[in-house]
C-alpha cells in the first residue's frame, strides 16, 4: 500500500510542467540519437551529463531516463526503414521489420515496433516500481558463472534463429568471436593479433563492425538495384497498423517483455542479448515461426518488446544496489553521484520520494515514447522521400561518422570500410552476417565471464554446472539447441527413409 502512495506522489512530481518537458526533451534526443547510425544514445547521455549539473537530481534522472528509453527504441527506426540498425539491440528488427518495409508496409512495421517497445518498457517499469526489492536480492545471487551461462544462451539462440544452415551460421558466429578477441585481453592486459600495430591493440569494436557490414553493404545495394523504399501508395492513408494488428501480436509482445525483464536484471547482459534471445524463442513458439525473416509481425514485435523491457529491469540493480550493468546506467550513476546522491539500499530509506519520482518518470516515459517514436519516424519517412542516390550518400557519411564517433578514432573508420567490403561480398554470396556481429558482441563477454569464473573458483571448471542457476541456464541452452534443430533433423531422416 505504501508503494502505491509513493508512486502517486511520484506521478504528481512528474506532472509538473518542467519535469514533464524534461522527459519529453530527453525522449526526443534519445530517439533521434538512437535512430542515427552516427550517434549512439550512450554518447548522447554522456554529452547530456554536463547539462544535468544545473538541474536537481530528480530532473537529471528524468532527462537521462528519457534519453535511455527513447534511445533503446530509436535504433529500430533506421533498422526498419533502411536495414541499418541504429543500435546493436535493433539488429533483430532488421530481419522482419525491414522485410516488411520491402513489402511496402513501413508504417505498419514502425507502429508495431513502437507499440511493442512501449508495452515492453511499460511492463518493465511497473516491475521496477513494485518488485525492485525482491528482484534485487535475486540479482545478487548472480555471479560470473551465471553471466557466462546467460551469454551462452545468447550465443546458441543465434544458431536457433538460422536453423536451416547450422554449419554456416556456426562459422559466421565463430569468425565474429575470433574478431572479438583482437586487441588487449580483458584479464592479462596483453595485446592479441596486433601484428605490432598500436591501433589494433585497442581492439575492434562491434559497433564499427556492425555499421560496416550493414550500412555500407546496404547503401551499395540501394544504388546498384532499382529498389524503392518509399511507402507504397497501396498502404492507404491509415497511420499504419490497426488495433487489430497489435492484438494479433499480443502474445509475442508479452513473451518478449517477460524475457526482456528477466535478462535485463542481469548486470552486463542488457538489451542486445535480450532482443536476440527473444527472437530465437519467438521463432520456436510462434505458429508462423518458419516464415520468420520474411516480414512476420511476431518476429518484429517480440525482440522490440524485449529490448525495451530491459530498460526498467537494468535500473533495478542500479537503484537498489548501486551497480550499473551497462554504460547507460553507469552514466546515470555518475549523474546521481555528482549530485551527491548515492544509490543503494539506503536511498529507498532516506529519499523514497525521489526514487518513486524516477519510477513514475520511467512509466510516463514509456507511454510518451509512442508519441515521440511516431513523431521522429514521421520526420524520417519525410527524409526517405529524397532521391535514393542522395539518401545513400548521407547514409555513407553518417555511417563513417558513427564508426569514428565510437571512440573518436580514424582507425575505426578504416576498420569500418574493410567490413563494409566484406559485408557486401557476404551479402552477394548469401553468407549470413548477423551471427558474425553477434559473435563480436557476445564473444568478448563470454571470454571474460569464463576466465573470471574460473579464477574466482580456484581453477575449478565444473563451477558452471555445479552452481544451480548457472547449471539450469546451461541446461536450458542445451535443450534450446535440440529443440530448434529437431525439425530439420527429423525432416532429413524422413526424407532419407522415404528415398530408401
Amino acid at each position: 500500500m505504501q508503494t502505491l502512495e509513493f508512486i502517486l506522489g511520484g506521478f504528481q512530481s512528474v506532472f509538473q510542467i518542467a519535469a514533464f518537458l524534461t522527459v519529453v526533451i530527453g525522449l526526443l534526443v534519445g530517439v533521434i540519437a538512437g535512430a542515427l547510425p552516427g550517434i549512439s544514445f550512450v554518447n548522447a547521455m554522456a554529452m547530456a551529463l554536463p547539462f544535468t549539473y544545473t538541474m536537481d537530481v530528480t530532473h537529471a534522472m528524468l532527462f537521462l531516463g528519457g534519453i535511455y528509453v527513447g534511445g533503446v527504441f530509436g535504433g529500430s527506426i533506421s533498422a526498419i526503414m533502411i536495414n541499418v540498425p541504429g543500435t546493436p539491440a535493433s539488429l533483430p528488427a532488421t530481419w522482419d521489420g525491414y522485410a516488411m518495409t520491402k513489402k511496402g508496409q513501413v508504417k505498419r512495421a514502425l507502429t508495431i515496433a513502437v507499440t511493442a517497445s512501449a508495452v515492453g518498457g511499460l511492463i518493465s517499469a511497473l516491475m521496477l516500481t513494485f518488485l525492485s526489492a525482491p528482484f534485487a536480492s535475486f540479482a545478487m545471487k548472480f555471479s560470473q558463472p551465471e553471466f557466462f551461462a546467460a551469454t551462452v544462451l545468447g550465443l546458441v539462440s543465434v544458431i536457433a534463429i538460422a536453423k536451416d544452415k547450422p554449419v554456416i551460421t556456426m562459422i559466421s558466429l565463430l569468425i565474429g568471436m575470433a574478431i572479438g578477441t583482437v586487441g588487449v585481453d580483458p584479464l592479462f592486459g596483453q595485446a592479441r593479433f596486433s601484428f605490432g600495430v598500436p591501433e589494433i591493440e585497442s581492439g575492434i569494436r562491434f559497433v564499427v563492425v556492425m555499421i560496416g557490414l550493414f550500412a555500407i553493404g546496404e547503401v551499395i545495394d540501394l544504388v546498384a538495384t532499382d529498389r524503392d523504399l518509399r511507402p507504397k501508395k497501396t498502404e492507404g492513408k491509415a497511420v499504419g497498423a490497426s488495433f487489430h494488428d497489435i492484438l494479433g501480436v499480443k502474445g509475442a509482445i508479452l513473451r518478449g517483455s517477460g524475457l526482456g525483464c528477466i535478462i535485463g536484471i542481469i548486470p552486463g547482459a542488457g538489451a542486445t542479448p535480450g532482443a536476440v534471445i527473444a527472437y530465437g524463442v519467438e521463432k520456436q513458439v510462434n505458429p508462423r515461426g518458419a516464415e520468420f525473416g520474411t516480414g512476420v509481425e511476431g518476429g518484429l514485435a517480440a525482440p522490440e518488446a524485449a529490448k525495451n523491457a530491459t530498460t526498467g529491469a537494468a535500473m533495478i540493480p542500479l537503484l537498489t544496489l548501486g551497480i550499473p550493468g551497462s554504460a547507460a546506467t553507469a552514466i546515470m550513476l555518475a549523474a546521481m553521484m555528482l549530485q551527491g546522491v548515492n544509490p543503494g539500499p539506503l536511498l529507498f530509506v532516506m529519499d523514497p520520494s525521489m526514487v518513486y519520482t524516477i519510477f513514475a518518470a520511467m512509466i510516463i516515459a514509456n507511454i510518451l515514447m509512442i508519441g515521440a517514436g511516431v513523431g521522429v519516424a514521421q520526420i524520417f519517412s519525410f527524409l526517405m522521400r529524397t532521391p535514393p542516390a542522395i539518401l545513400a550518400g548521407f547514409i555513407v557519411i553518417l555511417s563513417l561518422i558513427g564508426a569514428y564517433g565510437v571512440r573518436n578514432n580514424i582507425f575505426d573508420v578504416y576498420v569500418c570500410l574493410v567490413f563494409g567490403v566484406i559485408g557486401w561480398v557476404m551479402k552477394r554470396v548469401g553468407f549470413p552476417s548477423a551471427p558474425l556481429v553477434l559473435g563480436v558482441i557476445l564473444g568478448p563477454l563470454a571470454e571474460r565471464y569464463f576466465l573470471t569464473s574460473v579464477a574466482n573458483s580456484h581453477q575449478d571448471y565444473t563451477v558452471f554446472f555445479s552452481r544451480p542457476i548457472s547449471g539450469s541456464i546451461l541446461f536450458i541452452a542445451a535443450l534450446f539447441v535440440l529443440w530448434s534443430l529437431w525439425p530439420s533433423v527429423r525432416a532429413r531422416i524422413g526424407r532419407r527413409s522415404a528415398a530408401s
Binding site: 552516427g38 554518447n43 548522447a44 554529452m47 536451416d164 544452415k165 554449419v167 554456416i168 556456426m170 562459422i171 565463430l174 568471436m177 575470433a178 585481453d185 592479462f188 596483453q190 592479441r192 593479433f193 596486433s194 601484428f195 605490432g196 555500407i216 547503401v219 551499395i220 545495394d221 544504388v223 546498384a224 538495384t225 532499382d226 529498389r227 532521391p387 535514393p388 542516390a389 542522395i390 550518400g393 548521407f394 555513407v396 557519411i397 563513417l400 561518422i401 569514428y404 564517433g405 573518436n408 580514424i410 573508420v413 578504416y414 570500410l417 563494409g420 567490403v421 557486401w424 552477394r428 554470396v429 548469401g430 576466465l451 574460473v454 579464477a455 581453477q459 532429413r492 526424407r495 532419407r496
Partner: protein, 200 residues
C-alpha cells in the same frame, strides 16, 4: 535451404538470376565455394601462431590470454573442415555450391555500379583525415550525386553545400565531436570554415 544439402537441383533457377552469375559459370566460379572454406580452415590453423606479436609475457596464472582465442580458432577449424567436406561432396555430386546461394529477391543488379560505389566510399574514408571532414564530405557528396545520376546544377550545388554545413552543425557544433580537420593547409582551411559558420 534445408533441401540444398540433399538435393541441389531446385535451387538452380534462382542461382542464375543475376546476369553475372550466368557469365561466371566457368570452372573457377564453381570452385570458389570450395575455396572459401579451405581458406578459412587454413587461416584458423595458421593464425594461432600470430597471436602475440612480441611473445607472451613470463609466467601467467590460470589459462593465460591465449586460451580463449585458441579455442575459438580450433572450433572454427573444425566447422570449416565440415563445410569443406559438404562443399566437396556437393561439388562432386551436382557441380554446384551446396550451402551458399545468392539472394534472389532483386531482378537486376548492376555489379559495375556497385564496384564504383565501393571505390567512392573507400576513397571518401581514406581522404577524410587528409582533407578534413568538411572538404572531403563536400567533394564526396558532389561526386556521389553525379554517380547517382543527378544532373540538375542547382541540386548539385545545394546538396553538398547545405548538407555539409548541416552535418557540421549537428556533429561539431551540437554534438561537439572532434571530427577530422585535415592535415597541413587543409587544417587551416577547415578552421577558417568553422570560424566562418560560427562553430569555432
Amino acid at each position: 535451404m534445408t533441401d540444398s544439402y540433399a538435393d541441389g537441383a531446385p535451387e538452380r533457377d534462382s542461382q542464375s538470376n543475376t546476369s553475372e552469375n550466368q557469365q561466371g559459370e566457368g570452372i573457377t566460379a564453381r570452385l570458389i565455394p570450395v575455396l572459401v572454406p579451405a581458406l578459412l580452415l587454413l587461416a584458423s590453423l595458421i593464425l594461432p601462431g600470430f597471436m602475440f606479436h612480441a611473445g607472451q609475457r613470463g609466467s601467467l596464472p590460470g589459462l593465460g590470454p591465449g586460451a580463449w582465442p585458441g579455442a575459438v580458432l580450433a572450433a572454427l577449424a573444425v566447422f570449416s573442415a565440415i563445410w569443406l567436406a559438404i562443399e566437396i561432396w556437393g561439388f562432386a555430386k551436382s557441380r554446384k555450391s551446396a550451402s551458399l546461394s545468392a539472394p534472389h529477391d532483386e531482378d537486376v543488379y548492376h555489379y559495375g555500379k556497385a564496384i564504383i560505389g565501393i571505390v567512392l566510399v573507400i576513397a571518401f574514408g581514406w581522404l577524410l583525415p587528409v582533407l578534413g571532414f568538411p572538404l572531403a564530405t563536400m567533394l564526396f557528396l558532389f561526386i556521389w550525386c553525379l554517380y547517382g545520376g543527378l544532373r540538375n546544377p542547382l541540386v548539385m550545388l545545394l546538396v553538398p553545400g547545405i548538407g555539409t554545413v548541416a552535418l557540421l552543425w549537428v556533429f561539431m557544433g551540437l554534438a561537439l565531436m572532434p571530427l577530422s580537420r585535415g592535415m597541413g593547409p587543409f587544417e587551416g582551411f577547415t578552421i577558417a570554415l568553422l570560424q566562418l559558420i560560427g562553430i569555432y
